[in-house]
């Protein structure tokens, strides 16, 4: 077991190394910082960005937008998902809405949001609309997966409706919420950054990328991309870690 784990890590490392080698080769081929800066130069740019006085505000605002969007989607997704999971009628009512939201192109939502909202709140709205369907659908699936026999048992023992929700339904759907949160976050960060590129709030990773792209600072565009990837990766790790901590009962 331990050996295969080390082997996995080793293969992961090899894959990252291969990407860097390809990158370096491309940089050498183009031999122009305006097209493809080298990994070394980009790395230095990342370091420089970290020391920029605005760095915390830029990253902080993007993360904040992500978290606000995520929080609202999670609350809405949980409440509507639980009701839809329990009541087939409400599910039939909610489903067309979920399908519509999921199939509307993100860019269409952004263009409309640009008209409707202030630059700072456009990305939050985008995040909300992209993340909510994932969480809601997962919660519905989770509720449906709850064993009918267990509910019958709880009813037989005269457990109150409130406790059936809090002690049976909610724990049962936690693994589903976590996997929904993970997919939602994955797609959410990308949507937020697209939103920032187009709405240009004062601080935001997308704002910075757009500005650097205008000046053909390719190294900075890639550097901000790397930072965005790291944020996404960090949150994915946090979600996995919390799953491990919360879902202790799964053997």
């Amino acid at each position: 077991m331990k050996i295969s784990f080390t082997k996995k890590q080793y293969l992961g490392f090899a894959s990252v190394l291969l990407m860097l080698v390809i990158w370096q080769l491309l940089a050498m081929y183009f031999n122009s910082d305006f097209i493809m800066p080298s990994p070394g130069k980009t790395f230095m740019t990342v370091i420089r960005l970290f020391t920029d006085p605005d760095f915390v505000s830029v990253v902080g605002m993007t993360v904040l937008r992500g978290l606000v969007g995520f929080f609202i989607s999670a609350v809405l997704g949980l409440v509507l998902g639980i009701i839809a999971g329990i009541s087939p009628g409400f599910n039939a009512f909610l489903n067309p809405f979920l399908v519509t939201v999921r199939s509307v192109p993100v860019i269409a939502i952004i263009l409309l949001a640009l008209i409707w909202f202030s630059p700072g709140s456009v990305p939050v709205f985008i995040a909300l609309l992209t993340m909510f369907p994932f969480i809601c659908t997962n919660v519905i699936d989770g509720i449906r997966s709850v064993d009918r026999d267990i509910i019958e048992m709880a009813r037989f023992y005269r457990i109150s409706r409130r406790r059936i929700v809090s002690e049976v339904y909610i724990p049962a759907i936690i693994p589903f919420i976590i996997s929904g949160a993970s997919s939602a976050m994955g797609i959410g960060w990308r949507a937020i950054i697209i939103g920032e590129v187009l709405s240009q709030p004062k601080y935001g990773i997308g704002t910075m990328m757009q500005a650097q792209q205008t000046y053909l600072n390719v190294d900075a565009v890639i550097a901000w991309t790397i930072i965005a990837v790291l944020i996404s990766f960090g949150f994915e790790k946090i979600i996995r870690w919390s799953e491990h901590k919360i879902v202790v009962w799964k053997s």
Partner: protein, 235 residues
């Protein structure tokens, strides 16, 4: 006062299970209903428990009774520990400390001392079923319904479970209605044994055993004869 069901009628999947069926249960003892598979024993328990409705029938004595149910499968919450599952059904009026004390007592009675903090996935099938027995007694109920909870367990485990059940029941003598198709189980546990026929159901044999479950000797002639009699009645 006895628990009485009169003129019960129930059709299930186009099979007439009960036609003007009558049965009575004595309170405070273990009644075993012995019947062939598919004769509608579980349906009868579910009707008594209010999970399904009869087509018609008169019930007396059941009105103000509360019930526990030991299902065929343990039906535990996998995200709760042994203790959590037992305390799940306890009276909300109890303090945490009282619940803790009571669950300790029950855990000890079903021989799961030391496993209070285990999750169902960490227990064997027999242990899980013992948790569900403890849970049935943890809930303040007048009647315990049991639907072949020993099905699929080997004979040693079965005897072990019956001992667990008898031990816990001795401290808290509730009315138990125990449904099974296994003659040995009925002989080991029942104070009153009724044998049901195939549908439409009638009671074809009725036996009483005076000895308490824990002092019964299944090897004695008395029980061997009784077993033969019950097997014959089962058909």
């Amino acid at each position: 006062m006895a628990l009485l069901i009169e003129n019960l009628n129930k059709k299930y999947d186009d099979i007439l299970l009960y036609r003007d069926f009558n049965i009575s249960f004595t309170e405070g003892i273990i009644t075993c209903i012995l019947g062939p598979s598919g004769c509608g024993k579980t349906t009868l328990l579910n009707i008594i428990g209010g999970i399904i409705l009869p087509d018609s029938g008169n019930f007396s004595g059941f009105q103000e009774k509360t019930m526990s149910y030991i299902f065929q499968d343990p039906r535990l919450l996998k995200w709760k520990t042994v203790r959590g599952n037992i305390e799940f059904v306890m009276d909300r009026g109890m303090t945490d400390e009282e619940r803790h004390k009571e669950s300790d007592r029950l855990i000890k009675l079903v021989e799961l001392k030391g496993f209070a903090g285990y999750y169902p996935s960490q227990l064997s099938g027999g242990m899980r079923q013992r948790v569900s027995i403890a849970r049935a007694f943890a809930c303040h109920s007048n009647i315990i319904l049991m639907d072949e909870p020993l099905k699929g367990l080997d004979i040693a485990l079965k005897q072990n479970m019956i001992r667990s059940f008898a031990r816990i029941w001795k401290t808290d003598r509730r009315t138990v209605i125990f449904v099974t198709h296994d003659v040995d189980e009925a002989i080991m546990l029942g104070a009153e044994i009724m044998v049901m026929s195939r549908p439409p159901v009638s009671i074809v044999e009725h036996e009483n055993i005076i000895e308490l479950p824990e002092i019964r000797l299944p090897e004695s002639d008395q029980f061997k004869n009784l077993k033969q009699k019950l097997i014959k009645a089962l058909g």
